[in-house]
Symmetry: C2
Subunit: 191 residues, 2 copies
């Protein structure tokens, strides 16, 4: 159910994803769904966003395990996002962004908190790895914030343009920032 | 009407924006609306996305007129986007992205072409100014692609986080890329 909801939300957003479509795609019996998701579509979308954030944290951890530098981690995370977009033929975006774009995160305090926490988890995990990879704490947070924003944006414009070039472009910007990241204990540059 | 549609789409996305809400907000007489927009909501969303892209091109031109370098232009465009987000109290995103996120750009060939062309216009205009500001043609396209993706992403994560830090972070990444941009006629760096 959650997987089906996540897929549909990534393809057509929050509003256009009907509870009945999720039921159909997941082939779950209607009774069990109302038993497990008494909160209906809101609860399902919350679980889907949390699942999406969890997937991303796992991907980040796997990429970090192979990375020997912050630049390495930025490059492989961006490449994975790019591959996913191309593999879906530009059909699949983020599982959290639709809650924000469709205003659901503002209408429902629960979905608002879910979308905030989901992005925060991804940013925190990236920042943690950047520190391990020898980036200064403050710079690590800025870099992590930029990576998640950059990927989110490329997920939108690459879909619209039907081209992977936004991933390549934002990757170049993020690598440039990662390469300039102050190592731990050094002084920051201005700005 | 178009202004009302743009406002609502930026706040609650494409799907959740009902034709009747646009009528209500714009206070336009129903008859004249069907006369001017026989294509209904699709046509209205198309006009709203085009208006949004036009607004952005005007903002880009104004920022470019004051800029003495590519870094300058990147900084002021990002600052304007950040100010708009804070001024709306994190309620207002992009006027084009919802067509992509809500799957409308895939369902309707017309909206698909509109979202592609709208983003392309913004990217082309930025790239044009970067070349004027002495960035090599290829690097100018990459930088412009990165700026639009970066702003789109910050419009999503800043709204979710209720914080302007994504704009500051992505600005640092884009400035870093702009500062490294090969001047016209020089050789490119790898990657």
């Amino acid at each position: 159910m959650v997987e089906a909801a996540k897929q549909l939300i990534r393809q057509r957003g929050y509003e256009a994803t009907a509870f009945s479509d999720v039921l159909k795609l997941s082939e779950a019996p209607r009774g069990s769904v109302y038993f497990h998701f008494p909160g209906g579509k809101t609860q399902l979308a919350k679980a889907a966003a949390e699942a999406h954030a969890h997937d991303q944290v796992v991907i980040i951890d796997q990429a970090a395990a192979q990375a020997s530098s912050a630049v390495d981690l930025v490059e492989s995370y961006l490449d994975l996002a790019r591959e996913g977009m191309v593999a879906s033929d530009y059909a699949r975006g983020c599982g959290i962004a639709p809650l924000v774009i469709d205003g659901a995160a503002r209408e429902s305090a629960d979905l608002g908190e879910t979308s905030r926490r989901s992005f925060a988890q991804m940013i925190d995990r990236l920042a943690f790895h950047f520190v391990v990879l020898d980036i200064d704490q403050t710079a690590a947070r800025v870099l992590a914030d930029a990576v998640i924003a950059g990927v989110e944006g490329a997920l939108v414009t690459a879909r619209a343009l039907h081209s992977p070039t936004p991933f390549d472009a934002i990757r170049a910007a993020l690598v440039s920032l990662a390469a300039s990241g102050s190592p731990k204990g050094s002084r920051h540059k201005n700005g």
